[in-house]
C-alpha cells in the first residue's frame, strides 16, 4: 500500500514517570517495557522521520525528562529539522535544565496539570506535584517558549473548568487543551470512576464558551467527549495517516494505544528503518484507507472525515478492532457506550492510580492497595 506522508512523530522516550495519574494512557503493564532505544537510535529515528516528511516531534512518555539524555535528544530532533515540542509533567526539570533544552533547540512545551487546585490535582496525580508545575510554567514563559496547558478532564475536575481556565490565564498559557479522558490503559481500569455526567459536560461547555468570549487568550481546545457525542472522533486523524508513534521499546505504532489490540504486527526501529515500519508493517496497514470498514461505515459519507473512529476503543468495547466505533450513534453496538454511561452514574469507586495504588475517593491522601 502507498503510505501517506506523516507529519507528526510522537516519541515516547520512556514509560517511566514520577506521577501516577489514574487516567494514564500508558499500558497497564508499562513496567514490562524498558527504554530500549539509546540516544543514537532516537536521533536516527528523528532523521528518518524528517526524511519521511514529518515536521513535528512531541517528546513524551511517561515523563521524557526521566531520561538523562533529554538535552541530546532535543538537539538531535532540532538538528534533524523537526519542530521540537516537549510534553512534560513539569515536576523534574529545573529552570536551568529547561534553559538547556531551549538552547538545544526546543521550540514549545506542553505541561500537564491535573486540576485547578493543589489538593484534587495531587490526589489524581498520586504525588504532590501541583506547586512545582506552577513554578515550571513560569519558567517556560520566562524562556519565551510557547506554553500549552493540558488538563485531562473527568468527573472529578469537570466542575472546576472555570477555575482551570483562570489558572491557564494566570500562567499566561498560549493554549489550554481540555482533553477528555481517553479510555485506554489505566483510564479504562478507572472508567466508571472517571466518566462524567451529561450535566457536568454541559456546564463545562458553557464555561468554555464564556471564557472564549472574554478573551482570545488562551486559545481553548475542547471537544465533546465521544462517549457523549453523536459521532466518533477522527482518532489520530486516521490510522497510519498523519501521525506515527515510536514506543519506548522501538515499536512504531499508529497511536499510543494501538499495541493494546492483539494480533497486530508492527515494525520496530531496532531492526528496521522507520520508513519500512511506517509503510510496510501489517499492523500499520490494517486500518488504513476504508477497505477494512464494515457497515455502517463503508457506505457512510462521513467515513472520510472521522475514519470510522477509534480502533482501540472499538476493540475494547466490542472485542473486534474492525468494528464501527461504538461511540458512533450509528454503530449497532452503541448500546455499549450507553451502558458505560449508565454504569458510571452514581459510581463512587475509588480511583486506582497508575501502578496499582488505590486513591481515596475524595481528598488528598493515598494508600497502597495490597
Amino acid at each position: 500500500m502507498n503510505a501517506p506522508r506523516p507529519y507528526n512523530l510522537v516519541a515516547e522516550l520512556t514509560y517511566r514517570c514520577p506521577l501516577r495519574c489514574a487516567y494514564c494512557s500508558n499500558p497497564v503493564a508499562f513496567r514490562d517495557f524498558p527504554d530500549a532505544l539509546d540516544t543514537q537510535a532516537w536521533c536516527r529515528v528523528f532523521r528518518e522521520a524528517a526524511a519521511l516528511g514529518v515536521v513535528h516531534v512531541g517528546l513524551t512518555g511517561g515523563e521524557p525528562s526521566a531520561r538523562a539524555d533529554l538535552p541530546e535528544l532535543v538537539r538531535g530532533a532540532a538538528e534533524a529539522g523537526l519542530y521540537t515540542h516537549l510534553v512534560t509533567a513539569g515536576t523534574t526539570l529545573s529552570a536551568q535544565g529547561l534553559a538547556g533544552l531551549r538552547a538545544a533547540g526546543l521550540r514549545s512545551v506542553q505541561l500537564s496539570v491535573q486540576d485547578a487546585e493543589a489538593a484534587p490535582s495531587d490526589a489524581v496525580a498520586g504525588v504532590p506535584a501541583f506547586e512545582r508545575k506552577l513554578a515550571f510554567a513560569a519558567w517556560v514563559r520566562e524562556q519565551g517558549l510557547p506554553l500549552t496547558l493540558n488538563v485531562v478532564l473527568h468527573r472529578r475536575n469537570l466542575g472546576r473548568v472555570r477555575e482551570i481556565i483562570a489558572l491557564a490565564r494566570t500562567l499566561d498559557a498560549d493554549r489550554l487543551e481540555l482533553a477528555n479522558t481517553q479510555y485506554h490503559g489505566w483510564a479504562l481500569v478507572n472508567r466508571d470512576a472517571l466518566l462524567p455526567s451529561r450535566e457536568q459536560l454541559d456546564e463545562a461547555a458553557l464555561a468554555v464558551a464564556a471564557a472564549r468570549r472574554e478573551a482570545a487568550r488562551p486559545e481553548i481546545l475542547c471537544v465533546l467527549p465521544d462517549y457523549f457525542a453523536k459521532r466518533p472522533k477522527p482518532c489520530m486523524g486516521g490510522w497510519g495517516r498523519r501521525t506515527l508513534v515510536v514506543a519506548p521499546d522501538g515499536r512504531v505504532l499508529p497511536c499510543h494505544a494501538a499495541a493494546s489490540i492483539p494480533g497486530l504486527e508492527f515494525g520496530n526501529v531496532r531492526s528496521q528503518s522507520l520508513a519500512q515500519c511506517w509503510s510496510d508493517a501489517p499492523g500499520m496497514n490494517a486500518f488504513r484507507g476504508d477497505a477494512w470498514m464494515p457497515e455502517p461505515c463503508r457506505s457512510c459519507p462521513e467515513r472520510t472525515g472521522d475514519f470510522g473512529g477509534c480502533r482501540c476503543q472499538a476493540f475494547q468495547l466490542t472485542g473486534d478492532a474492525a468494528a464501527t466505533d461504538p461511540a458512533c450513534e450509528l454503530s449497532p453496538r452503541h448500546d455499549l457506550v450507553q451502558k458505560a454511561r449508565r454504569d458510571a452514574e452514581n459510581c463512587e469507586r475509588p480511583l486506582v492510580l497508575r501502578g496499582g495504588i488505590e486513591a481515596e475517593p475524595r481528598g488528598g491522601s493515598t494508600r497502597t492497595d495490597a
Binding site: V55, H56, Y83, H85, R107, S108, D174, R213
Partner: protein, 313 residues
C-alpha cells in the same frame, strides 16, 4: 424561581457593565483621543452598515408584535432612523458624520467597503432577531440602556481630541443622547413585564449578552483592520516543492499560493488595510479581493500563524 423585577433589572445592567462595548479597547482609544484619522474613518464607514441594519431589525420586531400599543411605540424607532422624508433621520445624520470625517458619502452609502467581519456580525444580529421571539428580540435591544452615556462621552471626545471633525457631523450622537434613554426605558419596561419565569429571565439575559458580543465583535473587526500583522515568532516557515508549510506549536498550516502572497506582506509594518490595498493594486482583475484578504488574515490570527499584532501606530 424568577428573580424580582428589580433584581432582574440589576442583572441586566450588570451584563452591560461587564460586556457592553464601552470597555472595548477601540472605544477606549477613541475616547482617549488616540485613534488615527484612518481609524476614525474606518469606524464611521463600517458602523454605517450597522446603522442600516437597525431599521430592518426593528421591522422584524414589529412583525412579531400583536399589540397595537407596542407597535405604536416601536415604529418610532424606524422613523427615527429613516426620517419622515428623504434627507432626514438618523441614517442621514450618520452620513453627515461621514462627510465630516472626510469620507465620500456615496461610497459609504453603497456599503462597498464594509469589512467582512463587520458585515458578518451585523447580519448575525438581524438573524438573531429573525429567529427569536419578541421577548428575546426586545431584550437584545437593551444595549440602549448603556448607549446614552457613551454618546455623551463620544461627543466630548470628538470635540476635544478630533478637532478636524466638523462638529456639525456630531448631530447623530446628540440625537441619540435623547432617543436612546427613551427607547431603552420602553424596551426595559417590556422585558421586565413579560419575563414571567426564571427561564424567560435567562433567555433575556442571554439575548442581551449575545447582543453585547455582536457589538464587541464589530469593533474587533475594525481594530483588526488597523493592526499591523506579522508572523508569529513561534512560526517556522518551510518551503517544500513550491509550497509553504507554516509550522507552529502543535499545528501546521498550509496556505494557498495567494495566502502566501498575503503572508509575505505581513511584516509588522503594513496594516491589514494597507495589505488589502496592495493586493488590490497587484490584482485589479480579482473581485472581492479586499474581503478575502481580511478574512484570510482573521483566520491566520485565529490559528496563531500571525502573532500578537504590533500595536497600532
Amino acid at each position: 424561581m424568577s428573580a424580582s423585577p428589580s433584581a432582574f433589572e440589576a442583572r441586566l445592567r450588570r451584563i452591560g457593565e461587564e460586556r457592553y462595548h464601552h470597555r472595548h479597547p477601540f472605544n477606549l482609544r477613541m475616547h482617549a483621543g488616540t485613534l488615527t484619522r484612518e481609524e476614525i474613518q474606518t469606524w464611521v464607514r463600517n458602523r454605517y452598515y450597522y446603522q442600516t441594519r437597525i431599521p430592518i431589525k426593528d421591522g422584524l420586531i414589529l412583525a412579531k408584535a400583536a399589540d397595537p400599543a407596542f407597535r405604536r411605540g416601536w415604529v418610532r424607532r424606524i422613523r427615527d432612523h429613516d426620517g419622515d422624508e428623504k434627507g432626514s433621520g438618523g441614517l442621514e445624520l450618520w452620513l453627515s458624520l461621514a462627510d465630516a470625517v472626510g469620507l465620500d458619502r456615496g461610497e459609504v452609502e453603497r456599503l462597498e467597503n464594509v469589512l467582512p467581519g463587520v458585515r458578518a456580525t451585523c447580519d448575525d444580529y438581524v438573524r438573531f432577531v429573525e429567529s427569536h421571539d419578541l421577548l428575546e428580540s426586545v431584550a437584545s435591544s437593551l444595549t440602549e440602556l448603556f448607549a446614552g452615556d457613551i454618546m455623551q462621552t463620544r461627543i466630548d471626545a470628538f470635540e476635544r481630541h478630533y478637532p478636524w471633525v466638523d462638529t456639525a457631523g456630531l448631530r447623530y450622537f446628540q440625537s441619540r443622547t435623547q432617543q436612546a434613554p427613551r427607547d431603552a426605558a420602553e424596551g426595559l419596561r417590556y422585558v421586565l413585564e413579560h419575563s414571567r419565569t426564571a427561564q424567560d429571565q435567562d433567555r433575556c439575559a442571554a439575548a442581551l449578552e449575545r447582543k453585547c458580543e455582536i457589538l464587541w465583535r464589530l469593533l474587533d473587526a475594525i481594530e483588526a483592520a488597523h493592526a499591523h500583522p506579522r508572523l508569529s515568532p513561534h512560526a517556522q516557515l518551510r518551503h517544500e516543492a513550491g509550497e509553504v508549510l507554516v509550522v507552529l506549536p502543535e499545528r501546521a498550516v498550509k496556505p494557498s499560493a495567494s495566502g502566501c502572497e498575503i503572508l509575505d506582506l505581513c511584516d509588522g509594518e503594513r496594516s491589514a488595510v494597507e495589505i488589502a490595498e496592495e493586493l488590490r493594486r497587484r490584482h485589479p482583475e480579482v473581485s472581492g479581493l479586499v474581503n478575502d484578504v481580511h478574512e484570510f488574515l482573521a483566520s491566520m490570527r485565529k490559528l496563531g500563524v500571525l502573532g500578537p499584532a504590533a500595536s497600532p501606530r
